[in-house]
Structure formats: C-alpha cells, structure tokens
Subunit: 190 residues, 2 copies
C-alpha cells in the first residue's frame, strides 16, 4: 500500500510518501514541503499548492491520499487557510479517482506514538524510528505528513472493514426513498 | 465589466453573472446554483464544484470573479465547507488568470441595500430591482451571488485605486531585499 500523506497549510504544506502494510517494516519513498509566499494572492497560492500536489501524485502514484482533518478550535485565520489548502489536496486526489482518507491530529499521534496528546518532538522521533531515518524530517509539517501516511497504513484494515459494513447496510435498505418526497409519505399501520 | 459572483457552499454554491459599469443600469447574464449531494464524499463534492464553476467560466468568460470572504464566527461545520468550496472557486479563476476579489457579507449587503445588516429578503428585493428581474432569484444563494457581482462592479473603482496606490508604494521601496538573506544584511550609515 502506497500512501501520500498531506499536512495541509498555505505557507507550508507537508507531503510524505510511505509504502508498506500493517505489521511489516515501512519504507519512506519521499518527503517534502510545498511552500507558497505569504504575500501572494490567495488564489495564486492555491494554484501553487495544486501544482505542487500534482507533481507529488505524478511522481509517486499513491493508491491513497491521507489528509489531516481540519478542526476550527485553533487559531481562526490559520484554520481557514488550512481548510482551503486541504480542499486543494482532496480535489487533486479525487479528480484522479484516488481515495482520500481524513485522520484527526489525535488519531495520527495515537497511531505513531501511542498517545493522542503527544508533542511534535515525540511524533518526529517515532516517524524517524518507524521509517529508519537518520534524523527527524524537517520542518515538522514534513514529519506530520509522514505520520499521516503511516497512520493510514495502520488504520486502513479497520477503516476498510467499517466502510464495507456501511456499504452492506446501505445495500440492505431497499427500496431507496428520496430524501424529500414530492408527495407526503403517510405511515401505514401494519 | 463582466463579473461572476460566487456564494460558496458545499451543498449549494450560488453563481451569478452580471455585466455593467458603476453608475449605469446593470444586466444579469445568468444565475444558478451548483449543488452537490450531502452524502457524497468530500473530495467528490469538491470535484463536482470544480466542474460546475468551470462550466460557468467557460460559458460566460467573466473578467473578474467575486467570492464571498469566509469568516469563522458562524457555525463551525458550515464554515469549513464554505472555506473549502471558496478555495475551489478561487483556484478555478486564478488558474485561468482571472483576478479574484473577496468581499465580506456586510460589504455586499451595504453595497446593494445601503445597510451592512440587511436581511436576505432585503438583499433579494434589491437584486431584483437593480437587475430589473420579474421575481427575486431563488434560492437565496443565487441572489447572494448576484449581489456579490453587483458589489464588485460598484466597489471596483475604489478597490482598483487602492491596489494602484499599494503597487506604487511597493515599487518605491527600492532595492528589494530578500526576506531571508543568505548573508546577514548590515545597516550602513549614510
């Protein structure tokens, strides 16, 4: 399984590609950061992020893209930019038919360190160990992107079972009733 | 001046094209809504919005795209989706080299009704009057997109003067020093 992890951001968008399966040693295929200048217009920054992500998809042909799920409890301005950068990453992947998975920061931390409240240094140290690197990848956004990819590889079996269960449940609901019926639906007593 | 207004949203993304100049009667060239199903995957919804916006750009060839500036003081979940839909609209425009302008909801309301705190009905009524329509465009997202386009046409002269002043001020700052010089820059006394 080859996964591109994306830690979205307008100024620094971390990207990292990891290959492997759960329970076996993992391999890093690439890591980096897509940067855009803070003084550029927002539209141009989004175009630059799109170009950067496309290059990573072209070069590594991942089977999955794992993106950090954005929450808005943090700094308001940063979060809007993060949401917009993540939209571009998801768009690039979905346009190619590559499945996108979202993982929360605490899911990622828990996956690689065992604790959902681990700090940046701990995540960097575990990424270094798990991928057998000489030093933690810099900046932290790059390490976080690798952690996302690792998290996806390890969580994928469980997530896939869940999706299969959902799909089976949805298929069992027959016939499918439209959400807003044109004619009022009356309950008929059995 | 031909402007595509975009009221961003994942479920309903309002789009409206208005042509005209400040101080003359305006003409509506088109109005509509790009919809995506709420139960679809986020990445697929963003692809559908991209496709919708591209169709509007292809058909109307606007010179400007005016997008509602997203704030996060509202409902948290809605805002993230709005930010992501707006990112797609800005990306589509910037990729074609079309300038993107952001206007806040209160700027738009003030432009078309005279009050930054006008309600939806008031905005709809003024859009109907200004574009000489038979009835207010439905849903409200479509009317809001037209209001954005009108706002841009009316504010553009002022905004352009401001941008020219900024550009002139930036050009006056010579020589331009890189943000992170490789060699420390020393201040030389005159």
């Amino acid at each position: 399984m080859r996964v591109l992890g994306v830690d979205p951001g307008l100024t620094r968008c971390g990207v990292g590609v990891v290959e492997g399966v759960a329970g076996r040693p993992l391999t890093m295929l690439g890591v980096g950061v897509v940067r855009t200048p803070a003084d550029a217009e927002l539209g141009h920054r989004l175009v630059a992020i799109e170009r950067g992500i496309e290059e990573w998809l072209d070069e590594h042909r991942p089977e999955f893209v794992a993106v950090e799920r954005v929450f808005s409890q943090h700094n308001v301005r940063t979060v809007m930019g993060t949401a917009q950068a993540s939209a571009v990453a998801m768009l690039c992947a979905s346009r190619r038919g590559i499945p996108v998975a979202l993982h929360t920061p605490s899911e990622v931390k828990a996956a690689v360190t065992g604790s959902g409240r681990a700090d940046k240094a701990q995540v960097g140290a575990m990424v270094t160990r798990l991928l057998r690197l000489d030093a933690p990848p810099k900046p932290a956004d790059a390490a976080d992107a690798l952690a996302l990819a690792i998290c996806h590889i390890w969580r994928a079996p469980a997530v896939n079972r869940l999706q299969q269960a959902h799909a089976a449940a949805a298929a069992a609901r027959t016939p499918r009733v439209p959400r807003t019926p044109a004619v009022p639906v009356r309950k008929v007593p059995r």
